[in-house]
């Protein structure tokens, strides 16, 4: 770190930190509000919203909302479902999309630029426009599982996973990162007799930590926040994820305290995942010395 040499520099740094603290506070306040509100009864929660009390754990504080949330909905099941679906999708997506990007960047085959363009062009297609056709497709697909061959994927975990194993954004992220890597690394490995899969797995993957972390975070958030698709394909409560579960709390009279308790609970896995990957991200950059 450069030494602070003049009052002018100190002032600049102080202002910079002040600005950063302000931005941090703005981003943290909604989370503080959510957690603090989860301990308050509904009437107090609503009344406090008009004052700074909304951010303070004062008044009638208890865990009642948490107990009530568990009575109202199978919270544990919803969190388990979301973590299962999200984890499997993220892992599968990182593998498939990075391999696809590897092929687009390092392999030579006819029409690859056109295929890549088509894949990236799908970024502008809103999911809502293809949701119904997708529903009809998955409803008529076969699946081989414990019960042999079954038709139709509704009310399963795989209907929430398979359609999202590959997506244009993740492929694009990997392509952009791989294009900036020195080509000599791949050429040297090939000269040493490495197969393409060995080049991918032993040369490229170890130095692609930053993009894997970034893609994992983005994919995790997208999958964990899925609402429309699971709503359409999970008619059985057994397979519903957290975001569909959130709707359990909006009845004729919304239980706002329980909503906040539920949101606090389902936010924990997201925070844990982010913190975990944030460390991996920094470690990855520090160990490779390669900028993405």
């Amino acid at each position: 770190m450069a030494a602070v040499t003049s009052p002018n520099q100190r002032l600049k740094i102080s202002l910079k930190y002040l600005l950063l603290i302000l931005v941090a506070v703005i981003f943290v306040f909604p989370i503080v509000f959510m957690v603090v509100s989860s301990f308050k009864p509904d009437l107090q929660l609503l009344r406090d919203t008009s004052s700074f009390n909304a951010f303070l754990p004062i008044g009638d504080i208890s865990l009642d909302n948490y107990f009530a949330a568990f009575r109202r909905a199978p919270v544990g099941l919803f969190v388990f479902n979301s973590i299962l679906v999200t984890s499997l999708t993220v892992v599968g997506s990182l593998f498939l999309c990075s391999m696809a990007a590897f092929a687009f960047v390092f392999l030579e085959f006819r029409g690859k630029e056109i295929v890549l363009s088509i894949i990236i062009a799908t970024l502008i297609v809103p999911f809502e426009t293809i949701a119904v056709p997708m529903l009809m497709v998955v409803n008529s697909l076969p699946w081989i599982g414990g019960n042999g061959v079954t038709w139709g994927w509704l009310n399963t975990y795989h209907v929430q996973i398979v359609p999202f194993l590959a997506d244009a954004l993740t492929v694009f992220l990997f392509v952009q990162f791989f294009r900036d890597l020195p080509k000599e690394l791949v050429e040297a490995a090939r000269l040493d007799g490495a197969s393409w899969f060995q080049v991918y797995s032993m040369v490229i993957v170890p130095i692609a930590g930053p993009v894997f972390a970034t893609a994992a975070i983005l994919k995790f958030l997208a999958m964990y926040n899925q609402y429309l698709w699971p709503l359409m394909v999970t008619q059985s409560e057994q397979f519903r994820p957290v975001m569909v579960g959130l709707q359990y709390f909006f009845q004729l009279n919304t239980a706002w305290g329980e909503v906040m308790a539920y949101l606090s609970m389902i936010t924990l896995p997201v925070l844990a995942f982010y913190i975990f990957l944030q460390r991996a991200f920094i470690t990855s950059i520090a160990s490779t010395g390669i900028k993405g």
Partner: protein, 422 residues
């Protein structure tokens, strides 16, 4: 020998019992109340009773959260896997019947005798759905406030006139004691708008669509009566009688109880909570009469049979079983809504004669009017909601109503007047 005979008889009896149980045909049912433990217990109680009362049918329940329910049903209809029994919000039923998601009920003669009109879902002269309850909206007021400002307490027979109501709002505003004289619930921007505010339009003499044909909104939504309604509606905001469309939910939910609003236009589902807070000072008053009688919206959630059900007789049998007064009363006691018959109301704690919410039953019986019974209602409701928001925010009344009328007419034309089932 005697033991052998006894054993044989026991085996034969148990086999017969097992066979009978085994012979029950499964019926699937979807319900919108996931997250409401009270509703879950009630509906499961009815199902248990029904399954044990006969040997032909066995109903199993799948619950959905209310906010996600309609989308789930539509998705299931697309995928072709609707259950046998569904529940449907009353004004949406014609759309689902027209779209081929539902079929008429097979109820016994007289099964719906004595039911509130709002609890019966009729489309094309056939009953497609029936509700165990109805909902009603009332003008919430504090008796002490009305007395303090010498405001007449209206009755069903003599509701406030439009002019009288406007004067009351001005009196309350001039007092300076309240943030606003009236809370309309502008923060709740879903079906609340057409459900709660269309009755004002009806009372002025307008409507969302011409009900003689259901083929145009011309004249109904942009005629003189509708324009008069629109101007009155806008005056509520320009005179600061009510908070605008940016009203926050917290203010809507606690403002009346906290004394920020003198009056509140709200449904009976918050009546118990309000009574608990204000005691017998709270009054549930009829809607004002703007010239064509006081009106409130009718029809809440109802049970129906899906078009793809292979066992509509069994599904209808379950629904008819659920219409017993004891179940209507149990639902009312559980979730606070109005039981669909007077017989059931008498069994409840709130709606029985002398009960704290008795007035809501009378409101539903005397003032309730169904939202337009047409498949196009779903679209009309969206346009009406948009027009009301625009007018509240200062849009030209005639332009806003004309735009809504044109959009509704275009939708009706686009769907071939909603004439034929799809």
């Amino acid at each position: 020998m005697k033991s052998l005979k006894l054993l044989a008889a026991t085996l034969a009896f148990s086999t017969a019992l097992g066979g009978a149980a085994f012979a029950q045909t499964n019926l699937t049912m979807w319900y919108h109340g996931a997250g409401s433990t009270v509703e879950r217990d009630l509906i499961n109680g009815i199902i248990t009773d029904f399954n044990g009362s006969q040997t032909d049918w066995k109903v199993s329940l799948q619950e959905f959260p209310q906010a996600a329910y309609n989308d789930s049903v539509v998705a299931a209809a697309v995928a072709g896997n609707l259950p046998d029994i569904i529940d449907v919000d009353g004004p949406v039923m014609p759309n689902w019947a027209w779209a081929g998601y539902m079929q008429p009920l097979q109820l016994s003669e007289g099964a719906l005798d004595g039911f509130l009109p709002g609890a019966i879902g009729k489309y094309n002269d056939q009953v497609y759905s029936v509700g165990l309850w109805d909902a009603a909206v009332a003008m919430y007021a504090r008796k002490s406030t009305l007395e303090k400002f010498n405001i007449r307490i209206p009755t069903l027979e003599q509701p406030w006139t439009g002019e009288e109501f406007n004067g009351i709002l001005e009196t309350l505003k001039s007092s300076g004691e309240f943030d606003y004289p009236l809370n309309l619930g502008m923060a709740d921007q879903g079906e609340w708008y057409p459900y709660a505010f269309a009755p004002f339009l009806w009372s002025f003499g307008g409507d969302l669509v011409d009900r003689t044909s259901y083929e145009t909104a011309e004249g109904a939504l942009n005629g003189d009566a509708a324009v008069a309604f629109g101007e009155w509606w806008q005056s509520l905001f320009t005179n600061n009688y009510v908070p605008g469309t940016s009203q926050d939910m917290a203010s809507h939910e606690t403002g009346f109880i906290d004394g920020d609003y003198a009056l509140q236009w709200n449904g009976n589902w918050v009546a118990v909570k309000t009574l608990e807070a204000l005691g017998d000072d709270v009054l549930f008053l009829p809607a004002p009469d703007f010239g064509n009688g006081p009106k409130i919206g009718g029809a809440s959630w109802q049970f129906g049979v899906s078009a793809t059900s292979a066992h509509p007789d069994g599904a209808s049998a379950f629904i008819e079983f659920a219409l017993q007064p004891k179940y209507l009363a149990a639902f009312s006691d559980g979730i606070g809504l109005i039981p669909a018959t007077a017989e059931a109301a008498a069994l409840t704690k709130n709606y029985a004669p002398g009960g704290a919410l008795e007035s809501f039953y009378a409101l539903s019986e005397k003032q309730a009017m169904l939202r337009p019974v047409t498949p196009g209602y779903v679209f009309e409701a969206l346009e009406f909601r948009k027009a009301l928001s625009d007018i509240a925010n200062g849009a030209d009344v005639v332009d806003a109503l004309d735009a809504a009328t044109d959009a509704i007419n275009a939708d009706i034309a686009r769907n071939n007047n909603y004439a034929a089932a799809q």
